[in-house]
């Protein structure tokens, strides 16, 4: 029953998981060799220069630990989270270790996370491991990580520890052959807005925030010790070719379908949000009109009174008379827009790669024939 259930919910997940298990051993090789690629990918949209951290350097151990954590505890849409430890060197954030947060269920509501973190860090310090808190990591399901929860917790991290980052690990993409690990930080602008806690349309407009400038991606470098690198080279030589070419898999429909589905959901949400905003706008304008009419009437009356020699009516507080409708918080729509953006990026990337693969396959076929 259970397995059936699971299968039904995430039909596309199982093969991915299996593949990524294989990945656990082999991926470090590719990722370490493609460190530069990873860094290159992170063009850093928010890389405006005023950020405290310019580069994130991740220890291979951390990557493995994160992957392992998801392998063991992540299930479908559930996400796993953990704490990153390390230290800042110049404008480079070095992440040298991490530990997971335990999955906590409803039963142990009294579980104290902060307490647990402190305990962990203290224990790690005893064994001479870097114990500075430099951020956190989270797994994601098809790149759907741009949420309010992430924003809030990243804000509190960044508020407390200025240089902290969030690492997003996408297990599904990883399963397709390339490690997907990205480091994000909130842009200073967004930090400002979050500090104000004012998400009204005006405030956001004033802050000149758009979905593109919410998060900045920080380039990642995965660093291994030389010994490990040597081992890797050796392993790569030994491994069969087929093992490392999930990358060449032509199956695309599942992933694409999933992404489209998610994208559609977000678009729906966006639509709703816009409708909400629309009604708000209509209400405001209607009220404006009423206000205007009221003022005119008052003015006319006053004119009449004046002509009759009576004192004008006292000015009343218009804002009390016409309470402006509650403006909808725009942050949600911003986030949704951000999320849609991520999906689009994902799809674009995916289709581009797939097209390439398809052409390659076609060429091969023709060549063989």
């Amino acid at each position: 029953m259970y397995s059936r259930h699971a299968q039904r919910i995430t039909p596309g997940n199982k093969p991915g998981k299996m593949a990524s298990r294989k990945e656990g051993t082999g991926s470090t090789a590719t990722s370490s060799s493609s460190t530069t690629g990873g860094a290159g990918k992170g063009k850093g949209k928010g890389g405006s220069g005023d950020s405290a951290v310019k580069q994130v350097q991740i220890d291979g151990l951390v990557v493995l630990k994160i992957i392992k954590h998801y392998q063991e505890e992540g299930q479908g849409t559930e996400v796993v989270q953990g704490v990153l430890l390390g230290l800042v060197v110049e404008d480079r954030l070095e992440i040298t270790n991490c530990f997971p947060f335990p999955q906590h269920t409803e039963d142990d509501a009294d579980f104290d996370e902060v307490q647990y973190q402190m305990e962990m860090m203290r224990s790690l310090r005893h064994v001479n491991i870097d114990h500075l808190h430099v951020g956190w990591y989270q797994s994601t399901y098809y790149g759907s990580f741009v949420t309010r929860a992430l924003l809030d917790s990243q804000f509190s991290y960044q508020h407390a520890i200025e240089e902290s980052v969030v690492l997003i690990y996408d297990p599904i993409k990883t399963a397709q052959g390339s490690l997907s690990l990205k480091a994000y930080r909130l842009t200073p602008k967004l930090m400002e807005v979050c500090k104000e806690k004012d998400f009204s349309p005006e405030a956001l407009k004033k802050a000149n925030i758009t979905f593109e400038y919410m998060f900045e991606e920080v380039p990642i470098v995965i660093k291994n010790s030389h010994l490990i690198n040597v081992l890797m080279w050796e392993l790569e030589k030994k491994s069969a070719v087929a093992d490392k070419h999930e990358l060449l898999s032509l199956a695309s429909s599942n992933h694409l379908g999933k992404n489209l589905q998610l994208l559609m959901d977000r678009v729906d949400e966006m639509s709703q949000d816009i409708v909400k905003y629309n009604t708000y706008m209509r209400n405001t304008s209607k009220q404006q009109q009423q206000k205007h009419q009221y003022q005119q009437r008052r003015q006319q009356e006053n004119m009449q009174r004046q002509s009759r020699g009576e004192p004008p009516l006292p000015e009343e507080d218009l804002s009390k008379l016409f309470k402006p409708p509650q403006p909808p918080a725009r942050m949600d729509s911003l986030l949704i827009a951000g999320q849609i953006n991520t999906y689009c990026q994902n799809i674009k990337e995916f289709t581009a790669q797939n097209l390439g693969k398809l052409f390659m396959a076609q060429a091969l076929q023709e060549y063989n024939n």
Binding site: G257, V267, M270, I274, M281, S285, Q289
Partner: protein, 913 residues
């Protein structure tokens, strides 16, 4: 006593008053209270009018006699018992005693008893001989009587001083008694003195017995009312009955002795009565005189007997010698009817009385008018018997009622000159004038309707699975027969309105019955004339279809109340549907436009409507019209309250929500079991139709985001099926359908077929249809067709082309059918393919979008709406007012229009050039 008979003719009661020594209570004071009024012509010979005092004293004397007997045989135990009873009886008589003084005989027995006991006590030897019980009783009795007599000391001493006087009195009384009896002898055609005496003594005992019984009832507050009731029962139950009872209940030997003679006497009395009557008729003129005479006689007679015993007799309607005339009988009838509905009226007694009255009327040849009149009232009081409308009549009572109605109908048919009607006023009734047509107030139709209602109630309240129910159901034929008779009668005499009502009643008893005979006839059309003759004999009576047609058409044409017409239409549709005349049924339903306004009808009609719809749906299903079947059943089934909607039971869920009152009302609305529509059959028909519709639809719209469910209930069942952790072989009907649906989804029609039609399902569902085999063949074919469609929808994407022959083999359908199905699919653009005639293949066009393409299309649609919404926001930003953009748009359009007009203007100018 006189109170019971109340109102007795003045002269009579006066005379009895004057004549009777011992009458003490004023008679007049009670007149008003009398609930049950018997004939005023009552005569003393027949009815003994007794005061409370008489009764009490009778009781006492009776006990005293027993004590004396016991004294004679030295049975002290008996003495003790009786003495105790005597004490009690005396206590009851206290109020009278207070007025009258202590009666002599009472004192005498006390004195005698004491003396006797003392004697016994002194007699040592005798005492020794006595058995233990007696000895013990003796001592207790002695002590008791001593104590008791202390209260009466003065009386006893005075008695002892002057015993003769009392004795004399006693003797005198006895003398008088015998005199009276001899009088009666003459009067009553030789009832012997002995019997009379016995009777005399018996009557009081009966009285006392009843009295005691009554005392047990706590609700009796006044003695008067008790008396009244005593008399009611006494007077109504026939003699022999009451006497037998008495015989049983009184242990005294003397009672038994009396039994034989009394019955004898009864007969004689009856005879006498008849004779009297004959005599009376004979000399009508001298009636008044006679009566007076009799009064005198009665008076004398009464006086003689004094306060003691009374004649115990069959309650008679009329005084002996009264001439039974119409006026008298009607008067009596009215008397009886006046008591109707009053508190404390014995309803059973009333019925008895009325029946007696009918007998009398019949015996005296009073004419049918009177009898009809009385019969009406009997039936009415039978209905009244149950005070509570909610409870049902006892079947026996109902049976009586049936008989009565039958008799009544007999009379009415035999006498076409009797007019019966509700609108005939009491005053304008003509019950006996033979010259003019007889007119009687009363409505046979109402009676029959009520009878039918009661029948329904009886059926509702009988356990449908018991033998009893079957027994009751047998009565249905009788009910139908009566309705038919009434119908015939009313067709001749009734107004159209009444005819409509009786027709409806007839329809209601016809519409739900499947006409097997007609069905049989249809199946075997007459081959030879010789055979058909035989058939005709068998098939007497018209087809129910013809009958329904005739009745309903009459109602459609003549009825003015909407309700009857609505019911008739519904029944007609139901009947059509039941007999598989789908198109007639459907057309009638559509023409009647009942769907539009049925919600304004009252619940019973709504229930009938629901039943009709369901029957219609089932009929459609039998015809293989799954879509119609589904639509007809959708409303009933989707609510999940089919049981309630069809009036076939109450839902437990809503039990808490309604109060007792509502529940009762709802209970009354229930349809009797024999009219029920099998709910499982209903659900199965619905689910199978839903399956036949939904599965191909689901296959066709698998990737359509906006597809709708055709049947929620069916989906629910599917989901329930999916949720099963372990799928065993299907057990219930639903499981079968779910399993079949799954098979059909794969295009596997054989498995589907085996799930839908198998032993289990046959037993549960299919065999319930009148033409089960036909239905099954239809079903198989439907399954094959729909499976084929499903198969094509599901797997068309994996085929480039497919041979129709293969398909026809796969689904065991012949080629033309396959061809037509596929053609239909292509025409309806359900299947993107074309037929290749020479090779008999279907060539797929493969234009169906893939899943991704579908998603992309959906996404595009959504984005479109998003953009639209977004633009609206933009509109707001543009204009100061909400209407800005629209104005602008209009303006734009106007411009366009202007331009066009301009263009138009140019044209003619061009042509003009």
């Amino acid at each position: 006593m006189s109170r019971f008979f109340t109102t007795g003719s003045d002269s009579e009661s006066e005379s009895s008053l004057s004549g009777e020594e011992l009458v003490t209570k004023p008679v007049g004071g009670n007149y008003g209270k009398q609930p049950l009024l018997l004939s005023e012509d009552e005569e003393d010979t027949k009815r003994v009018v007794r005061s409370a005092k008489d009764k009490r004293f009778e009781e006492l004397t009776n006990l005293i006699r027993t004590i004396r007997n016991a004294m004679k045989i030295r049975d002290v135990t008996k003495c003790l018992e009786e003495f105790e009873l005597l004490g009690k009886a005396y206590g009851k008589a206290k109020s009278i005693v207070d007025k009258e003084g202590v009666p002599r005989f009472y004192i005498r027995i006390l004195a005698d008893l004491e003396d006797y006991l003392n004697e016994l006590w002194e007699d040592k030897e005798g005492k020794k001989k006595m058995n233990k019980n007696n000895a013990k009783a003796l001592s207790t009795l002695r002590q008791k009587i001593r104590k008791y007599n202390r209260d009466f000391e003065s009386h006893i001493t005075s008695y002892k001083q002057n015993p003769e006087q009392s004795a004399d009195e006693d003797a005198e009384k006895n003398e008088e008694d015998s005199e009276g009896s001899s009088d009666e002898d003459e009067d009553e055609d030789g009832v012997s003195a002995a019997t009379f005496l016995k009777k005399k003594s018996e009557a009081p005992s009966g009285e006392s017995r009843k009295f005691l019984k009554k005392m047990d009832d706590e609700d009796e507050d006044s003695e008067d009312s008790e008396d009244d009731e005593d008399w009611d029962t006494g007077s109504t139950s026939s003699d022999s009955d009451s006497e037998e009872e008495e015989g049983k209940q009184t242990a005294l030997a003397s009672r038994f002795l009396k039994k034989a003679p009394t019955t004898d006497e009864d007969k004689k009395a009856a005879e006498k009565k008849r004779e009297d009557k004959a005599k009376k008729k004979h000399d009508r003129k001298s009636k008044r005189l006679d009566e007076e005479e009799e009064d005198n006689e009665g008076g004398e007679w009464e006086r003689v007997r004094g306060g003691v015993p009374l004649v115990k007799e069959k309650p008679k309607m009329f005084a002996k010698g009264t001439e039974i005339t119409h006026a008298v009988v009607i008067k009596k009838l009215n008397e009886i009817l006046q008591a109707r509905g009053k508190k404390g009226t014995d309803r059973a007694a009333q019925i008895e009385l009325l029946q007696l009255l009918v007998q009398i009327a019949a015996e005296n040849n009073l004419g049918e008018g009177v009898i009809v009149k009385i019969k009406f009232n009997i039936i009415a009081s039978l209905y009244d018997y149950n005070p509570n409308l909610a409870t049902y009549m006892k079947p026996e009572m109902w049976g009586k009622c049936l008989d009565c109605i039958n008799e009544l109908m007999d009379i009415l048919f035999a006498n076409p000159n009797i007019f019966v009607g509700e609108n005939i006023l009491e005053e304008s009734e003509n019950l006996h004038n033979a010259d003019q047509p007889l007119r009687v107030r009363g409505c046979i139709l109402t009676l029959v309707e009520r009878m039918d209602e009661e029948f329904t109630k009886i059926m509702q309240n009988t356990d449908p699975h018991s033998q009893e129910y079957v027994e009751h159901l047998k009565d249905e034929a009788q009910v139908c027969a009566i309705i038919e008779r009434v119908q015939r009668y009313l067709e001749e005499k009734g107004t159209t309105e009444e005819v409509c009502r009786i027709y409806l009643l007839r329809i209601l008893h016809t519409y739900y019955k499947f006409d097997y005979k007609a069905h049989q006839r249809q199946l075997t059309p007459p081959e030879g004339s010789s055979k058909s003759e035989q058939d005709q004999a068998e098939n007497e009576g018209e087809d129910s279809a013809v009958l329904m047609e005739r009745l309903c058409k009459y109602i459609y044409a003549k009825d003015r109340t909407d309700r009857i017409r609505t019911c008739a239409i519904l029944c007609h549709i139901y009947h059509h549907a039941l007999h598989s005349r789908w198109y007639q049924a459907r057309d009638l339903m559509l023409m009647s436009h009942l769907q539009d306004n049925i919600q304004h009808a009252d619940p019973p009609v709504q229930i009938l409507y629901n039943r009709t719809m369901v029957q219609l749906g089932i009929c459609a299903f039998r015809q293989g019209l799954t879509k119609d079947a589904h639509n007809a059943l959708l409303d009933i089934q989707s609510s999940g309250r089919a049981k309630e909607l069809l009036g076939q039971g109450l839902l437990l869920r809503s039990l808490q929500e309604r109060n007792q009152e509502q529940e009762k009302v709802e209970r009354r609305r229930q349809v009797p079991f024999h009219l029920h529509i099998n709910l499982e059959l209903l659900e199965c028909v619905y689910l199978v139709s839903a399956m036949l519709l939904e599965i191909p639809y689901m296959a066709a719209h698998e990737s359509d985001a906006r597809r709708r469910m055709i049947s929620k209930q069916f989906h629910h069942q599917l989901r329930v099926g999916e949720r099963q952790p372990l799928l065993g072989p299907p057990e219930s009907m639903r499981e079968h359908v779910v399993a079949a649906s799954k098979a059909m989804k794969m295009g596997d029609w054989k498995t589907c077929h085996s799930f839908i039609i198998n032993e289990k399902m046959n037993g549960k569902v299919w065999d319930l249809f009148p033409e089960a085999d036909k239905v099954r063949t239809m079903l198989v074919r439907k399954i094959q067709e729909e499976s084929l469609r499903t198969y094509l929808f599901t797997y068309s994407s994996v085929y480039d082309s497919i041979s129709m022959e293969t398909l026809s083999d796969m689904f065991e359908l012949d080629l033309p059918t396959v061809h037509s199905i596929i053609s239909k699919m292509i025409i309806n653009e359900e299947l993107m393919a074309s037929l290749d005639q020479p090779t008999q293949t279907v060539v797929m066009h493969r234009t169906e979008p893939t899943a991704q393409q579908n998603l992309a299309l959906q996404l595009a649609e959504k984005l479109g709406s998003l953009v639209e919404n977004n633009e609206r926001v933009f509109d707001h930003k543009q204009g100061t007012y909400g209407g800005y953009f629209r104005d602008q748009k209009d303006g734009y359009r106007k411009n366009e229009g202007y331009m066009r007009r301009g263009g138009y203007r140019q044209q003619p100018s061009q042509t003009a050039y």
